[in-house]
């Protein structure tokens, strides 16, 4: 394709120890579901003070259980914000949109210019991204053609070349979605989202509906396409196994806040936060017959989160300070941050 591929370092650079420039930098993001009934404003604090960076060319994982705010976070990043969701604070700075606090503040023209070309979004339940009553080619035509800036014939040539990257025959273009298998549909979706070679791709549980074998193939394909077009990927799933297999760095989210962030291998090898420890400890290992303990309790109600650290009602290490103050994300080793008073006793008084 002749379209300019931005100066994104290659995959080799991302693996190098020198941190590359961030494609996305999120600072203290607060996104609430805000409802006003009879003059009473009620907030559900789905994302409450989250900061992280996604570097060029890396796969950044976001893990957390259901209702921990993962999807809200990426909706805010992608600018797919509809009431009652509101971004109430913080900034999201993209390398391709310097100086803007995020897509929620960008003009419709700016947003239209960025989506698909620079930022693309593989949605949750992306098996159903294709319109069931229209042929696959119409989905490509409707969603991607306007962003490519190519003539018809060049566009279709590019589509076919890109489909080949995910091992699909051009004949799928003439098929209806129900005529394709789940894995094929998923690959079509990935091809659709990466067609314009965006610098930044958000993937929200794209493989959750697939069985393990197909999942493995699809993950491998996501990885190879990402390497080939040199984009950064924000990969969201609750499946820790997928994170272990795919992501370079991983952030653990709990009740709307980040608990821990670090290189994926490091998180699995030496988790610091008690929640991460339980999460990693719950993964089965072959030959290990010891019983997996489940955490007591349930995630907090985000309309009325507990004071202090949001994990303290379930935390085995909970101390007095945890009930009073919010722990800050503090560096712990290279490329590693954790928000826990038990790990950083000295962080008391610096919420």
């Amino acid at each position: 394709m002749s379209a300019p591929v931005p100066a994104v370092p290659s995959a080799a650079a991302a693996a190098a120890p020198v941190p590359a420039a961030p494609v996305l930098s999120v600072q203290d993001l607060k996104a609430y579901y805000r409802t006003r009934y009879f003059g009473v404003t009620r907030d559900v604090r789905a994302v409450d003070g989250v900061s992280f960076e996604v570097r060029a060319g890396e796969i950044y994982g976001l893990a957390g259980e259901s209702s921990s705010g993962k999807t809200t976070l990426i909706k805010a990043i992608a600018g797919a914000i509809r009431p009652p969701l509101e971004v109430v604070g913080g900034t999201m700075t993209f390398s391709f949109l310097p100086g803007s606090p995020g897509l929620h503040r960008a003009s419709p023209a700016e947003v239209a210019g960025i989506r698909w070309r620079h930022l693309s979004y593989i949605m949750q339940g992306s098996m159903n991204v294709l319109n069931p009553v229209r042929r696959v080619k119409h989905s490509f035509d409707d969603f991607a053609f306007r962003h490519m800036g190519l003539a018809r014939s060049a566009f279709w040539a590019e589509v076919e070349a890109h489909l080949a990257r995910v091992d699909l025959d051009p004949s799928v273009l003439a098929a209806y979605p129900h005529e394709l298998s789940g894995g094929m549909r998923q690959r079509v979706t990935i091809a659709l989202a990466t067609l314009c070679r965006p610098e930044f791709v958000i993937a929200d549980e794209p493989t959750t509906a697939l069985d393990v074998l197909v999942q493995k193939t699809v993950l491998g394909m996501i990885r190879s396409v990402q390497r080939e077009i040199g984009s950064s990927l924000l990969f969201v799933t609750h499946d820790m196994g997928v994170h272990a297999a795919l992501t370079d760095r991983l952030a653990i989210m709990y009740a709307g806040r980040l608990a821990e962030e670090g290189r994926t291998a490091e998180i699995f090898a030496r988790p610091r936060h008690p929640y991460t420890r339980h999460l990693v400890g719950s993964l089965p290992r072959i030959g290990d017959a010891s019983e997996r303990k489940s955490l007591d309790g349930t995630p907090p109600n985000l309309a009325d989160p507990p004071p202090g650290c949001r994990f303290h009602p379930r935390c085995p290490l909970a101390m007095d300070v945890c009930r009073r103050e919010q722990p800050a994300m503090i560096a712990d080793g290279p490329d590693h941050r954790v928000a826990c008073f038990a790990v950083h006793p000295q962080s008391e008084g610096h919420p």
């Binding site: 239209a112 319109n131 989905s139 969603f143 306007r146």
Partner: protein, 288 residues
């Protein structure tokens, strides 16, 4: 599309019968263009003759050939039904899709208008229109009025589907890719609701033809355009039933009943095709 028609013909008796009946009616209507007499002329043939080889459906007391008169009448009646159905489809599609997709106050405003139209008693209003407009009440005007009154039920049906479509991922992706509301409705949602629209079109035609016949039998329409109802109106005016000129009203009634039953069966079989479970059962697919 052709394969669907073939399957329907092969597996669905209702569709076969419906197609046959509607086919006969359409052929009759097409024959009107070969009519040897101008449709409005009277005393062109000897009056009050019973059906014979020369006049297969007999002749009227006004000296018209019932057969040729009938072809013109059914053509006008069918055209009326189609016009009303098409016009009201446009209204119900536009309002249903837009209301369901937009939601919020737009939905509430449109649906309160919609509900108003649903509870309006149609027949008295149509009679009222006739008494107000009298001679200005033409065929086209009546079609327009009926279309404006006949969209409400189907708009609600389409709205319910649109509300579900709005939350699907492909709609989210369309929004994300920057498609406008008009593009999303026309290119993504319209193809989805088309089968439902096909089915409701037949029912809407039946409804409008029924009302039109009722109004013209009572003389509340433009009686100078020959329609099925108009023929029955003139037969009543000439007391055909008392005079024993049964062929004057029996044939129009038979033809319009054929059109009714045919359209109804087409709608039913179309419904059965749209519902995949009944389609499978009919084809001997699933056990249930």
């Amino acid at each position: 599309m052709l394969a669907i028609l073939r399957d329907l013909l092969r597996y669905n008796a209702e569709f076969r019968i419906g197609l046959l009946l509607v086919g006969i009616v359409v052929v009759l209507a097409a024959l009107s263009f070969a009519s040897p007499y101008p449709p409005l002329d009277v005393y062109v043939v000897p009056p009050d003759l019973p059906p014979s080889w020369a006049y297969p459906f007999g002749t009227t007391s006004r000296g018209q050939d019932v057969f040729w008169q009938l072809t013109v009448a059914i053509r006008n009646t069918l055209a009326f039904g189609i016009a009303v159905a098409l016009l009201s489809r446009v209204l119900s599609l536009a309002i249903g899709l837009f209301s369901g997709y937009k939601g919020g106050w737009i939905d509430r405003v449109l649906m309160s208008i919609n509900d108003t139209f649903i509870v309006l008693p149609l027949f008295p209003i149509l009679v009222l229109f006739y008494f107000v407009m009298r001679d200005r009440m033409t065929w086209a005007m009546l079609a327009l009025i009926m279309a404006c009154l006949g969209w409400a039920y189907d708009a609600r049906l389409i709205r319910s589907v649109a509300m579900s479509l709005k939350t699907r991922e492909f709609t989210q992706t369309s929004i994300f890719s920057g498609m406008t509301t008009r593009e999303i409705l026309m290119r993504e949602h319209l193809p989805y609701v088309m089968p439902i629209v096909f089915s409701t079109t037949m029912n809407n035609m039946n409804w409008s033809i029924g009302l039109e016949v009722t109004l013209s039998v009572l003389g509340f329409t433009d009686i100078n355009t020959p329609t099925i109802g108009g023929m029955i109106f003139w037969a009543n005016q000439h007391t055909a039933m008392v005079a024993g000129v049964w062929w004057w009203f029996a044939f129009p009634v038979a033809v319009v009943v054929m059109a009714f039953v045919g359209l109804f069966l087409l709608a039913v079989s179309m419904n059965e095709y749209i519902d995949p479970r009944s389609r499978l059962r009919r084809m001997g697919g699933a056990a249930g």
